[in-house]
């Protein structure tokens, strides 16, 4: 009787030999760090954020800053002047998404906002022409300029002026107006405002729509790189014989939140690293079938000798999650499609104002500024 009571005493799972102390058992670790992409729907998609989620196992899920700093890595895969692809490992989806949203909507850029049309006899309407001009990307660093508000005077620190004057002569064929016809006016606007003041001094300079106190060419960064649209071959309008366009365009600083023309990225996106795991050995005919099924050639055939072949996962990073490989009968038991929850493959395509690595650094700075604003509001 005494022996039985001893056996019924509570026993702790830590006494079991194969449960590691302080770590999650492998199946829970898999649930915490991978999204399982099954045939019908993905499962375990939320990241387990609550600090006490695994408290009963004795595992601390809380954020330790030094743990984050040690485990966080960035690896650049491709970097050109226009786009870049890099991996961020060890970060959560909430913060990666914050960076993506800031890249698209909250990084300031310069784009044409006001168009003063002196003459437009083309078939493109005024407002359509103004809209198209607004979408032309301008190759200038927006950090050199300031924002302009409603009651500010346009001056050399917050406005950039362009001129467009094209005329198609009678008898000549149709011409296409491309964005290289937009000429920068570093000294400001040339259109003269009608002055109702009869006592105005005729010897003083006529009042224009901007008040530049000095030419923008005197700024050292702009003297070396004159401001122009980034791509000279964007079609703005087409003119037939006898038609003319004469206008002046003022470009100001703004954010993507207000209008998409102020977004500095063509787009920016991220995806989680795909992980393709063969749960069983896939051999011979099945291996051939598997290799052919995948449209992006994730699988490869390995020869084992004696005519036996085996399928291996050669390029899991290329997987687009089309689920073709688990579509037939029984394939779901042989292949597991997963995504790693804290490994993000970021792609940023810039429209040209700033190179993509500068854009990302600015986006991180903006998130820091937001946090600081909240802290100062709270104190």
């Amino acid at each position: 009787m005494a022996g039985k009571e001893e056996e019924n005493k509570k026993f702790s799972i830590w006494d079991l030999p194969d449960v590691p102390m302080g770590q999650l058992p492998p199946h829970l670790e898999l649930q915490r760090s991978r999204v399982f992409c099954n045939r019908d729907a993905p499962i375990h998609t939320e990241s387990v954020q609550y600090s006490g989620a695994y408290a009963s196992m004795g595992v601390d899920n809380s954020l330790r800053l030094d743990h984050f700093c040690n485990n966080f890595r960035v690896e650049v895969v491709r970097l050109t002047e226009e786009d870049m692809e890099f991996d961020m490992i060890g970060i959560d989806a909430a913060i990666a998404n914050a960076f993506r949203r800031i890249l698209i909507a909250e990084l300031p850029t310069i784009a044409i906002e006001k168009v003063l049309i002196a003459n437009n006899t083309s078939i493109v309407q005024d407002e359509v022409l103004a809209h198209r001009l607004g979408l032309v990307p301008i190759g200038v660093d927006p950090r050199l300029f300031e924002y302009i508000s409603e009651n500010d005077q346009p001056n050399e620190k917050n406005t950039i002026v362009f001129k467009l004057h094209v005329r198609c002569e009678r008898g000549s064929p149709r011409i296409t107006v491309k964005s290289d016809e937009l000429k920068w006016l570093p000294k400001g606007s040339e259109l003269v405002k009608e002055s109702r003041n009869a006592t105005s001094d005729s010897s003083s300079k006529p009042e224009t729509y901007t008040s530049f106190s000095c030419s923008q060419e005197t700024m050292p960064e702009l003297a070396k790189n004159p401001i122009a649209p980034k791509y000279p071959d964007i079609i703005i309008a087409k003119l037939g014989p006898g038609q003319e366009i004469e206008l002046e365009a003022h470009a100001v600083k703004g954010m993507g939140k207000t209008h998409a023309k102020w977004s500095p990225v063509a787009t920016a996106w991220y995806r989680m690293l795909p992980e393709v795991v063969l749960l069983e050995e896939v051999e011979d005919d099945l291996a051939e079938e598997l290799k052919v099924k995948c449209p992006v050639n994730v699988f490869d055939i390995e020869d084992l000798g004696k005519g036996k072949k085996r399928a291996t996962v050669a390029r899991p990073r290329a997987c687009t999650l089309c689920r073709e490989c688990i579509r037939g009968e029984e394939w779901e038991q042989r292949i597991a499609l997963r995504r790693v929850k804290d490994h993000f493959i970021f792609t940023i395509e810039s429209t040209g104002a700033l190179p993509p690595e500068v854009l990302f650094t600015e986006a991180v700075k903006i998130l820091e500024d937001k946090c600081e604003r909240v802290i100062s509001e709270l104190s």
């Binding site: 960035v74 959560d92 913060i95 914050a98 800031i102 946090c371």
Partner: protein, 114 residues
Amino acid sequence: MEHGSFTDNSAATFSLTEEDHTLANAVRFTLNQDPRVTFSGYCIPHPSHARVNIRVQTTGEPAREILKDACQDLMLMCRNVRSSFDKAVEDFKASNSVKAMNIDSQDGDSEESE
């Protein structure tokens, strides 16, 4: 700004203007990771107004301090991200220029040998 914490300052709702999911989700993530927090969440009362309500309930410490700590942690994480990123970009550019130089010197060698 801070509502609902008159009697008990360990549970409060913070109402931030001019913010949206960008900051709120990131702050909610860092709040959740703090072991002193029992509940944290955010909501956007109406999408046309730029206003976010962040709710924090703690194990006794004043909620305001916990939120400040979470924002500080987020700022430090951002700084870490920035420095790792800058270093990675520099390393990539350095290794690429080395590769370009190696290819040039290899072409030069093959021309000389012929």
